[in-house]
Subunit: 252 residues, 2 copies
C-alpha cells in the first residue's frame, strides 16, 4: 500500500460529498496544505478532479467517463441485455440485472416498461442488500463462513414490516435461496413492490450475476408474479449458457 496514493484517493470520496477548498481538503486529510495541493494537482491532471472558478475542487468529468467505460466492459451485462429486453416484452414488468462486488450489490442494467432504458443513473446506488431478491441470490452463493461474516456486519433497516429483521433471519433466508435456486422480495423494501429473481451462473457454476422482475401489488399480486418464476429462470439459464460459452454447469 502506497501512502501517497492512499492519501490522493481519499480525496475522492471526500469531494463526492460536495466541493471543498484546499484548506478543507488538507485538514480532512491531516496533511499540510502544500501536500494537499500537489495531490489535487495530480488528480486534476488526470481529470478526476475539477476546479471551479471559486477555486474549490469537485469531482471531475473523467470519473463519469471511466465509470461508463467500465460498465460497458462488463460482458455479463452485454450478453444479458437482449435477454432482459425479451423478458420485459413477454411480461411487461421492470427487469433488473445486478452483480456482487467488494461487499456491495449493484445494479448494472435495467429494462423498464416497454422501452429499454439504461439506468446509468441508478448505478452506484447501494442496493437494499438485506431484502432485494438479487442481493439474496448473489450472497447465497458465497461460502458459509463468508455469508456469516457479511451477515454479521450488515445493518438491517426495517423498510417495511416484512424486511429481513436480523442476521439470523437473513442467513436462514440465504440458505433457502441457495437450496431452491431462486429468490423473492415480497414487500420487503417497499410495501407494494414484489420481486422474483434467479441467478446467472458462469461455466464453473458460480453465480456471476442475478436478475429479477419487479411489479407493484396493484398490477399483479405476489401469487401472480410467482407464476412468472419459470420464465425468469429460463431467461437466467439462457444467459448463463450464453455467458459460459459452452455447456452450462447446472445444479439440480
Amino acid at each position: 500500500m502506497s501512502q501517497t496514493v492512499d492519501r490522493a484517493l481519499s480525496i475522492l470520496p471526500l469531494l463526492a460529498q460536495g466541493p471543498a477548498d484546499l484548506g478543507q481538503v488538507a485538514e480532512r486529510l491531516g496533511v499540510h496544505k502544500s501536500t494537499a495541493l500537489r495531490l489535487l494537482r495530480t488528480l486534476h491532471e488526470h481529470g478526476l478532479v475539477y476546479r471551479q472558478q471559486d477555486q474549490r475542487y469537485r469531482l471531475g468529468a473523467r470519473l463519469f467517463a471511466l465509470a461508463q467505460e467500465a460498465v460497458e466492459n462488463l460482458d455479463v451485462r452485454e450478453i444479458a441485455h437482449s435477454h432482459l429486453i425479451e423478458l420485459n416484452e413477454q411480461c411487461g414488468h421492470t427487469v433488473h440485472l445486478a452483480v456482487y462486488e467488494e461487499n456491495e450489490v449493484l445494479y448494472i442494467d435495467k429494462v423498464e416498461s416497454r422501452y429499454p432504458v439504461r439506468m446509468y443513473s441508478r448505478i452506484g446506488k447501494p442496493v437494499a442488500i438485506t431484502v432485494a431478491a438479487v442481493a439474496k441470490l448473489l450472497l447465497a452463493d458465497l461460502t458459509e463462513p463468508e455469508r456469516r461474516v457479511i451477515a454479521e456486519r450488515l445493518d438491517y433497516p426495517m423498510y417495511t414490516s416484512r424486511s429481513t429483521p436480523n442476521a439470523g433471519a437473513f442467513l436462514r433466508e440465504l440458505a433457502v435461496v441457495r437450496e431452491q435456486g431462486w429468490a423473492t422480495d415480497l414487500g420487503g423494501h417497499e410495501e407494494s413492490i414484489n420481486c422474483v429473481g434467479a441467478p446467472i451462473r458462469g461455466a464453473d457454476g458460480r453465480v456471476v450475476a442475478a436478475m429479477s422482475v419487479s411489479a407493484p401489488n396493484v398490477v399483479v399480486t405476489a401469487e401472480e408474479l410467482l407464476t412468472l418464476l419459470p420464465l425468469v429462470r429460463r431467461t437466467a439459464d439462457a444467459i448463463s449458457r450464453e455467458y459460459s460459452g459452452t455447456t452450462p454447469v447446472k445444479k439440480a
Copy 2:
C-alpha cells in the same frame, strides 16, 4: 505533480480498455512488477479496482458510487448562475435556465431586469412544453422514438396563432432544432414575447439543460433578438465547458 499518484491514476484509463493482469499493467506503466502490484493494491483498497477470479484487474464498483454521488452534487444551476447574470448584464433581458425531467420541462433559474433574482416561485411549474425554446432544445436531444412517443402524448394548446399546432409540426420543429443547435419561440406562448435559446451539454455531449433569453416585442423586434444568438450560444457553451469539467487549463 506526484509521480506515484500519477502512475497509479494512469492505471485507471488503462483498465478502462479492458481487464489486464499484473505483468501487462507493469509493462504499460514502465515500472517493475512489484511497483505495479503495490499501486494496484492501493487502488483496490479504495475500491477503484477490482480483481476478478482469474486474478486480472478491472475497474471497480466504487467508481460507480463516486460518479453517482458526484452527479447528485453537480448542480447545473450553481455552475450556470454566474454566467446567466453576466449574460443578463450584457443584454438586459430576462434569462431562463431549464431542465427536462420526468416528461416535464422545468425552469430552475431565472435572472430578470437588473437584479439577479432566483424565481423559486416559478420553479416546478411546468413550462409550455410545446412552444418554449428551452423545451424544444431539451426534447430535441432525445432519441427519435422517445420524441415521437412524447409528441403523441402532448396536448397542443393554441396560446397564440403561432403556437405549435400538433404533433407533426412539433416533431418537425424538433428536427430543425436538433440540426441547428439552437431554438426560438417567436410569439408562440405570448403574442408579444420572443425567445432565443441554446443547449447546455454534459461531457458526453448530451443536453443536460437549456437556457434562453426572452424579450417583449415592444423592446426589441424578433430580428433584433436574433442578433443576440451568438452571445447566447457562447454563454451556453461556456456553461457546458465548466459543467463537463473540460475548461481549458491555462498553461504556465
